[in-house]
């Protein structure tokens, strides 16, 4: 072997090679950890939106939609957000794996930890009220978002199947009220067939109605539920 000690030092000298500063490596590691944290937070936001969308469903109304419970569950899954969540878990995994010590951990453990942190964050965000913000912001700002998400607005906008929703605009008497659906159409609601309800109807209330449609503008309500549930804004 040639004198590699001498040769190497000569090349280092001639090419003026110097060790890269320590902060370069530390910075790179921190960038990876930062993106791991960001991906986990975004995964958490995806989870809170999934919880929000699922929480808005009434799981007993599948029969009105001519679906089995299984079909209803399948159609209710917010696939866009599930996919987004998986994507952020994958990004978080790759970022952490490329940190200095990331390779020491098994893939399953890393993915599991990333999922658990995201789920924990999602639950905290949900409890903190961030849930509806994301969904509503996307609904307003992102084109085609509403076409990609099958949410309670779609379910309760099925007047032919006896499901209607909207805002009470006028309470006429104890037999009925006027409702403006979320598409802006006015409906006369007939309450004669309404069973016992503890929900108090007043102007401005947002409600979900189960009943029958007469083919015109009158909807015969059998059950009234509040539009917002479980602490939703």
């Amino acid at each position: 072997m040639s004198d590699i000690n001498k040769e190497t030092l000569k090349i280092i000298e001639e090419r003026k090679i110097t060790p890269e500063p320590r902060w370069h490596f530390i910075f790179k590691d921190y960038v990876l950890r930062f993106f791991f944290a960001i991906s986990t937070i975004l995964g958490g936001i995806s989870i809170t939106t999934i919880i929000f969308i699922l929480n808005g469903y009434d799981w007993d109304i599948y029969k009105y939609l001519d679906k089995s419970l299984f079909e209803y569950i399948l159609s209710s899954i917010p696939y866009l957000w599930v996919f987004t969540f998986i994507l952020f878990v994958v990004i978080a995994y790759f970022n952490f794996k490329n940190t200095k010590s990331g390779y020491k951990h098994e893939i399953l453990k890393l993915v599991l930890v990333s999922v658990l942190i995201s789920v924990a964050m999602g639950t905290i965000f949900f409890a903190g009220g961030l849930d509806s913000e994301v969904h509503e912001t996307f609904s307003e700002q992102v084109p085609f978002y509403e076409n990609l998400i099958y949410d309670k607005d779609d379910i309760w906008n099925n007047v032919e199947k006896g499901l209607l929703s909207g805002e009470v605009v006028e309470v006429r008497n104890k037999d009925g009220f006027i409702l403006k659906d979320f598409g802006g159409h006015l409906w006369q609601i007939d309450e004669k067939g309404l069973g016992t309800t503890t929900f108090f109807i007043q102007k401005g209330s947002e409600v979900k109605l189960i009943g029958n449609f007469d083919g015109g503008n009158i909807f015969f309500v059998k059950e009234i539920r509040p539009w917002h549930c479980c602490g939703e804004k």
Binding site: M1, N5, T8, I17, P19, E20, R22, K104
Partner: protein, 198 residues
């Protein structure tokens, strides 16, 4: 080149610190690792010594550039082997060659240990084993070859192999188990072919 005897007794980590202060001290690290790494390059790639020297020099330059990245929670030897391993893989990919078989006494290190680990092949002739093991190792998938060479030729433990290949220790254990299974299968296949031929 003059080498200070006191420096020869220093640990790798101390020499890293000294090299960062004065690049002339780098020669002690080179001196300590050049033969080991040269053997590793030849074993893993099977290339000629002249070409291996080129890779080795690139390794030492790369190590010098990355000296500040050395993580003291690792053994320096694992870290320098990792850089060497990556350099060999890069070289093989660029030249699009598959590792070649090499005939050298140094390749027979730890073969007894390997033979003992592959316990079903007690009956296989020692001479046959020694003569053919290199060829058979060379037919293994790259991931299996890597762990077999590090474990049985470079005498590295699981944690060191994990640090060199940047894979979790559990994965290394699995790879090694599968590598030995594949190796056994290949040895038995080859020995039966040989017997049929004879």
């Amino acid at each position: 080149m003059y080498l200070n005897g006191d420096y020869l007794n220093k640990t790798d980590e101390e020499l890293v610190v000294l090299t960062l202060k004065d690049k002339e001290n780098y020669q002690y690290l080179i001196q300590r690792y050049k033969n080991k790494l040269m053997r590793y390059i030849v074993r893993l790639s099977g290339i000629k010594t002249e070409d291996a020297e080129g890779i080795l020099q690139e390794v030492f330059i790369r190590v010098y550039q990355k000296l500040n990245d050395f993580d003291t929670s690792l053994k320096f030897s694992s870290w320098i082997y990792r850089i060497t391993h990556n350099e060999i893989i890069d070289h093989l990919r660029k030249s699009k060659t598959r590792p070649q078989v090499i005939d050298s006494e140094s390749n027979l290190i730890a073969l007894d240990l390997l033979k003992a680990d592959l316990d079903i092949i007690k009956d296989i002739d020692k001479k046959y084993f020694a003569e053919n093991i290199e060829k058979i190792i060379n037919t293994l998938d790259e991931k299996y070859r890597n762990v077999i060479i590090l474990k049985y030729k470079e005498d590295k433990d699981y944690n060191e192999i994990s640090d060199i290949l940047k894979k979790p220790p559990g994965t290394i254990a699995t790879l090694l188990k599968r590598a030995k299974e594949q190796l056994k299968k290949e040895i038995l296949k080859n020995s039966s072919l040989l017997q049929n031929y004879v």
